[in-house]
């Protein structure tokens, strides 16, 4: 490749990534040269500004026609644009939570690392959403994973944090290895790593053994990625990691990292397996033939996540299981494969982003002072700070899917998607609805603490909420209610700007 070809690429479509990369570099340099005694909070604000800049540049690219550069390894299609939007908004809010994070154990000295590792993780997720090649996909995934491992272990002196980082690294690497193993089969079958070429190549395989191998690859990729999504039965690491990691990192893992997980699942499954034959008599493409397996995973995830959440007393573990359950709902979208699957996924992930991050901001604020994460910490919250209690109640109602909130519209959309196909997924929908009712128990349990129980210690005076947290809670609250009452704002935006994601398959 000579310089001329290199310059002829339309680098403009990578602007958001370049901004994040630049900011990450700048942050690490600033951290290096700043005096030890100076507060690292400023780095957080620089990072926040960087994400905003990336967001603006991404909005500028929304009208851009689909383009792929660097030998089709980096694509900017509507799928990439729409999901990067979620990633950036989510990360900006997580960063605000991190800025408002004031732990007791003196995290101050590592705070600089936190911010640039965070930016690196974000960059990984963005590359994943834009990749057109297994290699870039994998690089993005690893960038995200490795940064997350370190982030999870950020509280160096906390035993829980150490444990969580350790568990996360081991489980994560196994998952990565399995995914990679699966990918290698596909590479072996097709001789290319490019997703588009692969898909073209796979349409024409008829050899039964090849199809068998491809099925094996599907199986391994799904298992590997299922670790990343924290879906049953590969969810075991999530509760420990969520509990041990610092709260902003937990928020990041449960929202941004999960979104990225779904991005990669969609990228891989629908690029590779959508056209590959399954070898059965009806001539179904592989993804449709194996739909039931995903449906099974979805059902198991919803049941396990929601049932085990009932027994949790630690609020972060509770949210870990809640997040597993939510991943189950999202898998229903993939399993049902309706024509508006991308819309549904996008809307639900967006709604989930706001309701979960809002809840995490409040969790951080409530658990911060006492150091305890038991749900009894929420007792009497309504008496102390009614605003927080009501905001938390609305986030919980949204997570539980009660009308008037974005969560309800999201669920409605998922049901629609699952029931519209000719043979509707009635079992899956029934499981989803039944487990949703189960989830009322634990979500309302937190509300019972906030509204019914008196506070344990009487002298809990007013605690000042950091401005950054107030901003996150305010934005999340506004969005949760707005998209619950007028969801058409989001759907119109989607329908008018992303052209139904038709360019995903081009």
């Amino acid at each position: 490749m000579d310089l001329e070809t290199l310059l002829s690429y339309e680098w403009g479509i990578m602007t958001p990534e370049f901004i994040i990369l630049g900011v990450a570099t700048a942050l690490s340099l600033m951290d290096l040269f700043m005096p030890k005694s100076q507060s690292r909070k400023i780095l957080g604000w620089v990072g926040f500004a960087g994400i905003l800049a990336a967001l603006v540049s991404l909005l500028g690219l929304i009208g851009h026609s689909p383009e792929s550069i660097l030998f089709d390894t980096f694509r900017l299609d509507s799928f990439a644009k729409a999901f990067k939007l979620l990633l950036l908004i989510g990360s900006a809010m997580v960063l605000l939570i991190a800025i408002g994070y004031e732990p007791n154990e003196g995290l101050e000295e590592f705070r600089g690392e936190f911010f640039y590792l965070f930016m690196a993780a974000l960059l990984g997720t963005m590359i994943m959403s834009s990749s057109g090649d297994l290699i870039t996909l994998f690089v993005g995934l690893e960038l995200l994973s490795i940064s997350s491992y370190i982030l999870a272990g950020m509280r160096k002196r906390s035993l829980h944090s150490n444990e969580s980082a350790m568990k996360y690294v081991i489980n994560g690497s196994i998952a990565t290895a399995i995914t990679l193993f699966g990918m290698s089969y596909v590479y072996g079958l097709t001789g290319t790593t490019n997703l588009k070429e692969m898909s073209g190549f796979l349409t024409s395989i008829y050899n039964e053994q090849h199809i068998y191998l491809l099925g094996l690859a599907f199986f391994m990729i799904v298992v590997g990625l299922s670790f990343k999504l924290a879906t049953a039965p590969f969810h075991m690491w999530a509760p420990d990691v969520y509990q041990g990691a610092p709260t902003p990192v937990t928020a990041f893992l449960s929202v941004v990292s999960k979104t990225a997980g779904f991005i990669i699942v969609i990228r891989i499954l629908f690029s590779i397996f959508a056209n590959a034959p399954s070898g059965d008599v009806q001539g179904l493409p592989m993804i449709l033939a194996l739909q039931d397996y995903i449906a099974f995973l979805a059902g198991a995830t919803m049941i396990i996540g929601n049932l085990i959440a009932l027994r949790q007393r630690n609020i972060k573990r509770l949210f870990a299981y809640s997040s597993i359950a939510q991943a189950g709902y999202l898998l229903v979208v993939i399993a049902s494969m309706s024509l508006f699957m991308f819309d549904t996924l996008w809307f639900y992930l967006g709604a989930y982003l706001f309701m979960n991050l809002g809840a995490f901001a409040i969790i951080q604020h409530v658990t911060h002072k006492s150091g305890s994460e038991d749900i009894s910490q929420f007792a009497g919250l309504y008496r102390r700070t009614p605003f927080l209690a009501i905001a938390m109640a609305i986030f919980l109602l949204s997570l539980a899917g009660i009308p008037g909130t974005a969560g309800f519209i999201g669920k409605l959309n998922i049901f629609m998607g699952a029931l519209v196909p000719n043979e509707g997924h009635y079992v899956l929908v029934s499981i989803m609805i039944a487990t949703t009712v189960v989830s009322y128990f634990y979500y309302f349990g937190v509300m019972v603490q906030m509204f019914f129980r008196p506070a344990a210690d009487a002298d809990t005076g007013k605690v000042k909420i950091p401005a950054a947290l107030t901003a996150v809670i305010g934005i999340s609250l506004a969005a949760t209610i707005l998209f619950g009452i007028a969801p058409n704002i989001a759907f119109d935006f989607l329908q008018s700007n992303f052209n139904q994601f038709t360019d995903f398959f081009q």
């Binding site: 024509l339 819309d343 009308p403 008037g404």
Partner: protein
């Protein structure tokens, strides 16, 4: 009069009260109670305006509202965009239910004067509950109906759990879980209908299900229709409640504050009946006919079961709770009869029981305020200490057991008239329930009024001024319906015609 947003204003007017309340300091007890009461008035006035205009001959169609709301799916590839409109509308039946809701809300707001703590939170939730209840009856499409239906769930949970009696949290949870499951089942039916037909509008669905409509997105088999109707029966059966699904309701009636039970027994239970009539009968008329016998059987079971259990209770609230179950049996009997008299009886019973239950539970609140008990024995001898209250209690009991000249008589008479025509043996069995009703109510009420006095009534005031308002209004309405039933039957004529047309009668 500009009617463009009439219904929306009616349904959402309590929100204004919530807004005002949120600016009030939480310690201003009397101010908060006054605002809470005043906030229920706009809906009441508007509901009455609509009612009297309709009686005067104005059409209800002019009140319909429709705004495009949510569009799912993609218009480009699919061709059929799943859209949900925000549409409100009324027919005679829902108009009556709205009037009932508005009247009972105002009266329950008066009864809320007995609330002892956290008035601000109480009234905010109370008004939100009113929005939900009004919306349920005004909704013209199933998804909107479901949304309002769920909105009633959340405030009720908190109102029971925070302001109720001793075992309030258990009651709140069992309310949440039973009703949550009920609405989950309902949601499945709604979503299947919506996904299959592409519309959630009730009238459009009725049309689509009636004829072999070729425009369906996907066909619905007969078995599936039957399944959906049974699911609806379960969903609304929890709410009503039908026999094996009733245990939560007894708990709620005993543990919730009386003002909330007034609404709960008066309106929330009726959503079950409303749903069965409007959706069960309206959308699945043929399947409903084949289930009619079972409904009548369930009705008789409910009637007898409730009556016998009410007979053995020692607590007056328990008597009333089981009496509610028993009286809901009459609604089922009327529906099971599936003729004009029966259905009319069922609807009459829905309204009449709403008024009577509200009256009786208001009186329970009055007792509880004074004696901190609702045990029949402990209350004994009331006629001496509180003659006026005792008199009203007797009147309420008479209405409940169906004394001619009161609303209970009209509804029971019509429901049984309907059933005797179709299934005379079953109806004969059912009449045992009517006798039992007289027995348990007289036992309980006579025990309270003329029973042996176990307490000293010195220093106990009889009814206070403000307590007269709800009681007089309710007794007045009960007698009005009893003496002059056409206040109900005339607005219902067109609704009944539509229903009868649907079931081919």
């Amino acid at each position: 009069m500009n009617l463009a947003y009439f219904l929306s204003i009616l349904v959402f007017s309590p929100l204004l009260g919530i807004l005002v309340l949120s600016f009030l300091p939480r310690t201003q007890e009397s101010l908060i109670k006054t605002v809470g009461f005043l906030a229920t008035l706009p809906a009441l006035i508007l509901a009455l305006i609509a009612y009297f205009q309709y009686r005067a001959g104005a059409g209800l169609e002019q009140l319909n509202e429709k705004v495009s709301w949510i569009q799912f799916g993609d218009s480009g590839q699919l061709g059929n965009l799943f859209s949900i409109d925000y549409e409100l509308g009324l027919d005679g039946f829902s108009l009556i239910m709205i009037v009932l809701t508005a009247v009972l809300s105002t009266l329950a707001a008066i009864a809320s004067i007995h609330i002892k703590k956290e008035w601000k939170g109480y009234f905010m939730l109370f008004l939100l509950l009113e929005v939900g209840m009004l919306g349920v009856f005004a909704a013209e499409n199933l998804i909107l109906f479901f949304i309002f239906f769920e909105i009633t769930l959340i405030p009720t949970f908190f109102l029971i759990g925070k302001w109720g009696y001793y075992e309030k949290e258990n009651a709140a949870y069992s309310f949440l879980i039973y009703n949550g499951l009920g609405s989950a089942v309902l949601l499945i039916v709604i979503m299947v209908l919506f996904a299959r037909t592409g519309t959630a509008n009730i009238d459009a669905l009725m049309a689509a299900m009636n004829a072999d409509n070729p425009q369906l997105v996907a066909p619905i088999s007969e078995n599936m229709k039957m399944g959906m109707l049974i699911a609806l029966l379960i969903a609304f059966g929890v709410k009503l409640p039908i026999f094996p699904l009733h245990s939560w309701m007894v708990r709620v009636h005993v543990q919730a504050p009386p003002s909330i039970v007034m609404l709960h027994a008066g309106v929330l239970l009726k959503i079950g009946a409303f749903g069965l009539i409007r959706f069960g009968m309206g959308i699945f008329p043929e399947q409903f006919q084949s289930l009619a016998v079972w409904l009548a059987v369930l009705g008789v079971v409910n009637l007898l079961y409730g009556a016998f259990l009410a007979f053995v209770q020692t607590d007056f609230k328990m008597v009333l709770a089981y009496s509610s179950i028993s009286h809901m049996g009459i609604v089922l009997i009327g529906l099971g009869a599936l003729n004009e008299a029966g259905i009319q009886g069922a609807i009459f019973q829905v309204v009449s029981h709403g008024l009577i239950a509200a009256l009786l539970f208001f009186l329970v609140g009055v007792f509880y305020e004074r004696f901190q008990t609702s045990n029949i024995q402990n209350l004994g001898g009331l006629a001496k200490g509180m003659p006026i209250t005792a008199g009203f209690l007797l009147a309420g009991a008479m209405a409940s057991l169906g004394l001619p000249g009161m609303s209970g008589f009209v509804s029971e008479f019509m429901a049984f008239l309907g059933l005797f025509k179709e299934m005379p043996i079953l109806a004969a069995v059912g009449t045992i329930g009517i006798i039992m009703t007289a027995v348990y109510l007289l036992r309980a009420v006579l025990g309270i009024t003329y029973g042996k006095a176990h307490r000293d009534f010195a220093g106990i005031t009889d009814m206070k001024k403000f307590e007269f308002v709800p009681v007089l209004v309710l007794v007045g309405l009960i007698v009005l319906i009893g003496v002059y039933p056409s206040v109900l039957s005339e607005p219902l004529t067109s609704t009944l015609e539509t229903i009868m047309l649907g079931i081919g009668g």
